[in-house]
Symmetry: D4
Subunit: 250 residues, 8 copies
């Protein structure tokens, strides 16, 4: 479809030899118009108020404020990750509609239109207390998307009974986010017990050969339990977003 054929098509419409409806059909089949569904999908995301994430680290308070305002104006929920308290306070003095969450160092704002509720419950499970900031980032993300979230925290080798005592909560899940550092075995254990998708989030918690989360990541990728997939190290947003997406299916 070059300029000539495009002009020719429009001239046929102008000449009446081609109905607008027919022209539209032909245009929709063109290269690049062929990505049409993408745009529509994008609109759908905005309508639903799904959050757009802003990676706050390395951005100035002014940049954060400006991008947040722009996104919110487009109808999206806003989520800014990795904002320390000092930077957050500067942002809030300019843009007090944002809420600061010190437990995961995030700023957030709901979309103007309340999000469509999810179908079930997103269950966020964390292995240790050091994994909580990442887990809370997942919680906040899924809640901004409209999902109901339950948490089961501090479930290590010596705390597997917490999983058991949370059986009722676990049974209602539509998706799981399992956050763990060190050897990263918890998502395997969970995926062996349940029959809903498990999103594993490795964390950089650990020392020595944990290599900043690499050991946990490899443990999760090599899990022999099906139904488990992995996002980037410390990517709580990614885990929460995917679980929220699954929770809104159907």
């Amino acid at each position: 479809m070059n300029s000539d054929s495009l002009k020719q098509l429009l001239e046929q419409v102008a000449a009446g030899s081609l109905e607008p409806e027919q022209a539209m059909q032909r245009l929709k089949k063109l290269p690049y118009e062929d990505l049409g569904f993408a745009r529509v999908d994008h609109h759908r995301v905005l309508r639903r108020g799904f959050p757009e994430v802003i990676f706050g680290q390395g951005k100035t308070p002014e940049q954060i404020t400006a991008i947040s305002r722009a996104l919110h104006a487009q109808g999206a929920a806003v989520l800014v990750t990795r904002v320390d308290r000092a930077k957050a306070e500067t942002v809030l003095s300019e843009y007090p509609e944002l809420a600061y969450h010190p437990d995961c160092a995030c700023l957030s704002q709901l979309a103007a239109e309340p999000p469509r509720p999810g179908k079930g419950t997103v269950v966020v499970i964390a292995a240790g207390t050091s994994d909580l900031p990442v887990a809370q980032e997942a919680v906040l993300t899924a809640e901004l998307m409209g999902s109901k979230v339950e948490t089961v925290y501090d479930v290590g080798v010596s705390g597997l009974h917490r999983l058991a005592s949370a059986a009722e909560v676990l049974m209602q899940a539509s998706a799981y986010v399992v956050v763990a550092g060190m050897e990263g075995a918890l998502p395997s254990v969970v995926a062996g017990l349940v029959d809903k998708p498990v999103v594993a989030v490795p964390t950089s918690v650990g020392y020595g050969t944990s290599f900043g989360g690499l050991a946990a990541l490899l443990g999760m990728l090599n899990s022999c339990a099906p139904g488990l997939s992995v996002v980037n190290i410390d990517n709580g947003f990614g885990g929460g977003y995917l679980a929220g997406l699954i929770d809104h299916l159907g």
Copy 2:
């Protein structure tokens, strides 16, 4: 709960000082009984006929035959991956109910009870022809689970228009499996276009710094597109299973 307290509880029941119903409630709250839901879930998996995968590489034809029969007897669909043609023929001579799929080197058998159909369509997208064996393993897995599967193959940088021309197929997806080697950029592109979960499967296709799929894996983990998660390199089964699981939600 040691033997003594367990015996004491049973004696209270025997003595009539504790109702069976009450005793059962107390027993259900005990450590390890608390994993009850897991067993139930496991049964649910078997009832649905979801496949149990057998990693065929390194197993003898006799082992494959025996494990396959046992799994099928339990009501599960059977999937044996990484079986070369010679080994497959030996297995088939003993167990002709299995079907061999040379395009992904798998043996399979449906569960006795037909699987519950999925809710939508699992779309499996592959970047290059060399990625097809992994992609076909994903297709086979999801189909054994009862999902309807559509494929969009050979979608590299010079083939993005194939994605576009498949727009109608793509719009109906409940989940995507995107299979790619080399730099592994395709899942990022797909996840930027759609609003359903994308399961990325890196493949070991490539040379030089692809390092057996590591480059593709890192590319996928670092994607800035939300809604994307990753399974192990060449793990077509893992990708298909997760997509099938998502397709059966709700």
Copy 3:
């Protein structure tokens, strides 16, 4: 064993058609009850006063105080690793029963009941002065478990004679903890000389290609001396605990 069969069993006891003793035997054979030995073992650990370790790094003084108190109340010895002096002082102002060990940055408290003494001597050997904090963490751990500990420090290539001059001490060992950074060759040398288990602890001491302890770790894993095994880099607790465990066998 689902709820129904459990209730049925209890009703048989209530009806007198099943003796409590028989019911107990049947319950003990059930799935998940079948992990019974684990619980007992766990109790055994507590009764012995073996320490539960708290990774102090990244925890607040309040968290450390609370977890320490809870563990001690359960009868365990308490060991908190990676606590700098400032944090330690805050904890001690609240919980003065803990002792601070500046040489390994640990807090500790013996169990209420004195630990059962070990069978022999745990010998902790360190290659250089920079390895001492890790070695002292091992010493403290084994002592909290009730083991007698001897140390042989500063045994590098130019100090192998210290090993020789410590021959009498070395002969009485039930287990060795050998702590080394750099090329990590010392555990191989020790394991070639002795006939008791050697637990090798690589440290992050070194520069350049030591890669934070990786060189030492690989050196230890590739040792051709049998009777040697390895724990994580800088994991003095892990080394001391395993040696203490071996020292309490029999």
Copy 4:
């Protein structure tokens, strides 16, 4: 050679009952004279008949035969690892006293003097069927040392109940060897349940990001369960030897 015997030798020289030349020859034959205890230990190992391992890969049948004969003549049990069947047959035609173990590709011969029995039971646990050759190498090693060995095989995420049903066996263990590839989570699970030393043996079983056993190794090193240590990838001999050593303590 301790201080007493050194003094005695010098007194014999002083008394004229030993020529200086003879004394010098005796002193020169004591290779580890200054390390005294080491030589004694070495002798002790030989007296006990503990096996000396020969890494068979890359050695000719003639080399294997010669070294085996020499070791056996010294009173040691013989263990040759990584010998394929063809090479084994050539060796056996020359040295029929060796026994070939096709399940772990090893040749072995008991020491002339039967080994001193161990104190308890070495329990060897393997995650999957592909891990069996490594596990069997551990079994063979511990048995040559005189330990009683029990095995619990095929214990993956979907097979944890096998652990449970083996509770009685597990309770009698003096040491555990846990063999696993993939994500290597099994040793962590076992170490969380028991209170005896766990020797973890990662295997090169897996694909993709298992990186020839690296993922399993890292998983084991980063385990938060105390009482666990690790040997080299696929090092069944190392695992069995250490467990056998522990089983002979006290």
Copy 5:
């Protein structure tokens, strides 16, 4: 731009309230139509007859034949890399218009229309004889694009004088492709001498710590000589294509 606004625009054209020319301008500014230039560029590539590369490894002779025919029919030159002689002969029996180049294991066919000649000379320099297959792949690629190519081969540390004796050739270059394995220092040396772009191609030639070309790659990336950039290990096509592209500029 959704379907409604597109239809509206076309109706305005039909109604005469909007000139076809104006409508075309508005359409050209739309999302995705806005990638128009890309399509044009792509056409430009085809018109020039620049080669499309087919990675031959892992493709059947039938696939290679089919794709080659299709590309040639579109006006592109054809280049199939990594084709061993046996496979090449099967392809040639079906498609004899292709030429086989055993020195770089490639099949090629010029575009129907002779390529536009380049502006200068592409100089391909190789460090050792083992690097020649990769270098020849670069030569073939640049020649298919219409560039004049000169080669300077076997220029290692002991052969730098070859560079000097080739000074006249080197002075005429518009771009350099420098191919080297081992420590990969040659591109740095060349880039320090010349003032035209240097495309460095690391090869997997070497042993030990060359790690399949990684050492060469890192050496090239860390070069302190400006004007040098790097393509993937063994990627002769990539090097030749980029040099050919530069040679056709202006």
Copy 6:
């Protein structure tokens, strides 16, 4: 110094018009006499005023001032990278002719003679705001060389339309510098759209498995789009220099 001039010099000696001593001095002043072309090229670079880069990190203000003055005196443009504001101010108090660019932490000075203008436009494209310092270093470099530079910034997955809207700018490019961190997919996308050389600059922007830019680097090296090459992580100077070099060809 080619064969002719060498012969001429010797003939002058033979003819007595040049003293042997003088001839020797002239021969000794030609450091690269045998490499002839190199010296000439080097002079050519200086005549054009192409910048010499000074890596400012780890250098004192005095060193920076001295080297800058020396380079400028030789006729080169000056570019000092990685200079924080405090150090810059100290340098500027001594050498106020330098200009400080806080957006890329560089100091620069044009050559005395204005640089020869380039042939087209260097287009610098950056994926995210965090990539800007590296991108700006590329911009500054190319401008010092005399190239006209256009920038297209903030082009991530959700910003590909910015590429589209910049179509006119993109069409005039003689070379592209594409700067990206995270998964580093943007250069592949650009190279798939255009037909001029693309210099990819990976940045250390990202977290978790980005491994300080390694993921981006591997993504770029494994790109299946031809016409793309890579420089070191965060090496904006290298990218800008190469693009400027290409822009001055012909």
Copy 7:
């Protein structure tokens, strides 16, 4: 302690001129008596006044002072590396006989007995100004050993003529220490030009894919120039010591 002196000692005992007890004491003070040659070598080192290095990083001023005094008392030259100025000043206030070298952050003291002069000249060559601290550590080490040292600094790709102009110095070398970061190509270039041993010292100078000196290290190890060997990253002492050792041979 060689065979002769051992025999002599025993003869003294036999002759009654030495008590057995005294002989035993003398024998026990010879740490490596059984390894004879080793002790002698060690003594030889001390006699020559070769320096013992103390890794100053992580040691207290008190520890540095104590170890330095002890070494000097034994007749060794003293070299303390990695001492920042503040720590150095504290040490010097206690032990003013040490000299501080701010260019390489070392403290040193000559042995009481002046060192035996070397045979030739140690030439230390450094690629860039950032490599100077490592190079100066090598210079200081070799000088303490008694070697004459010459330096050729700032020899990068654009400074190879410095090598040439230093030809006379280079010709007198008995050994070379070549210090380089980045791609580490300089030692290869030097080793290609000279016929004396070249000790390559990679430095952690660089950024991006230099990976803390790994790229330089790999470049040096993969050099195709014979006569070159490598020490650890930033190990100036190791390079200087080895060169000094070679310079004292014969």
Copy 8:
């Protein structure tokens, strides 16, 4: 070619005893004329008959024959590494003056002129039988250079007494080549005992985490024993050459 001989040549031209044309020819045969010292060194190498190594792997018998003949004609000893028996036989049928060494898979030929003898003895030490091919390559290289070589083989942890019993041999060494795989600790031990340069050669012998020799390499680089340097993995030639070079100093 030093300044004197250059001046002399020019004076001959000035005196008419040498034609300019002849002088030019002589100057052109001096490849590194401008680097003066280098050429001389190179000639010295040839005069001494030091071997030029040919990496035989990947070269055809014809290439090996041709290069060997050319080198020998120049007066160098010839050494071809990595030649399997079949290839060797083809070469030998053409060039029977070469000798084949099956223990290290090398072909060699002495220089026409017998090499100048070394000053002492090169001692080559190997840890295990699997390291012998690499060790023998070192032996052959040093012998071709004229050095007297002694070997001490099979010196592992359980064989350190072999070192001791070889004390006399060790005392005469001018340089050591120590070859080891696995954890690579042997060179550290040797360097701790002796006072001559130790060239460490890591081998790819080992399994699991030996990572093809990487563990041994890191162990050697991180050795705290001074006087030790390292060459590439399996580079027996490199080790032997450097030791031979040292042995010829003075």
